[in-house]
Symmetry: C2
Subunit: 164 residues, 2 copies
């Protein structure tokens, strides 16, 4: 059983409403948002984004990784963005484990040794936002001219609060 078939059915209704205008490849607001994969966060309605407005990058935790830097460099140098928003959220899955515990679990369940992996868990959500903003600020691949903001999304209320 695959849920993918349901997505294809739902997409038929979306296509009927979509129209066929060609939007530009470069984001209209010049913003790239890095946030978590969490299912309770729908970034576009939460921030008032229309189609074509902003790049949205998502991984476990909304953490700044090499892959996020790769994506941001493409976003900025190829596609004209000049502003980054780091958006973490309350009740995050990345707050539910430690690397050590998780490595033990994966050794047991998958028979794979990941004892040298960092799965980027965190405890304090504002600290994690500040840490990731600092990683961006200190990257030689992110020019100083890029504006960087940070915020937390509350999954229960939908509210976004700035982190300074």
């Amino acid at each position: 059983m695959s849920y993918f078939e349901n997505f294809l059915k739902a997409n038929q209704a979306y296509v009927d409403l979509h129209g066929t205008d060609h939007l530009p490849i470069k984001p209209k607001t010049h913003v790239a948002i890095i946030t978590c994969m969490d299912a309770r966060l729908h970034v576009a309605p939460a921030l008032g984004l229309a189609l074509g407005d902003a790049h949205i990058l998502r991984n476990a935790g909304g953490r700044v990784t090499d892959d996020v830097i790769r994506s941001l460099v493409i976003s900025e140098q190829q596609l004209g963005t000049s502003e980054i928003v780091v958006l973490h959220h309350t009740d995050c899955g990345a707050q539910t484990f430690t690397n050590e515990e998780f490595a033990q679990q994966l050794q047991q369940d998958l028979k794979v040794d990941v004892s040298d992996y960092d799965f980027l868990p965190f405890t304090d959500i504002e600290d994690s936002v500040r840490e990731d903003m600092a990683l961006l600020r200190n990257s030689p691949l992110i020019p100083e001219s890029i504006t960087i903001s940070g915020a937390v999304y509350d999954v229960d209320t939908g509210r976004v609060t700035e982190v300074k």
Copy 2:
């Protein structure tokens, strides 16, 4: 000037409509979707997702990287997902450059040597979906029991078409 302030204003209206129900941290459909950061793709409406339905991972191209594997392992082993959808799209920014050209540009504009980086560009979109599905299928961290599908999103029509 920062666009972030506009997002905060738009978010106030979203909060008024959001309600305060607590949704479970585990995605209801047990699906994780890996797709591109492109601004013209709003994943939730395109696939009929409600809040809480599915994990959404996004990077430049929707490529399967170490960071995506990290996120998927957390998604599956901590948060109960058992199905992955790889969703690339037409007119992708990852089709607009080669590593060599991009490295030259970054050397010139940022004075950073990234000649050994792979920015994961691609030419054929169906090939890139199949390549990333194969990376997932061959990862020791993705169990064989996980269902994997692939598809392409058309940014002009909103249509999702399966890739076999």
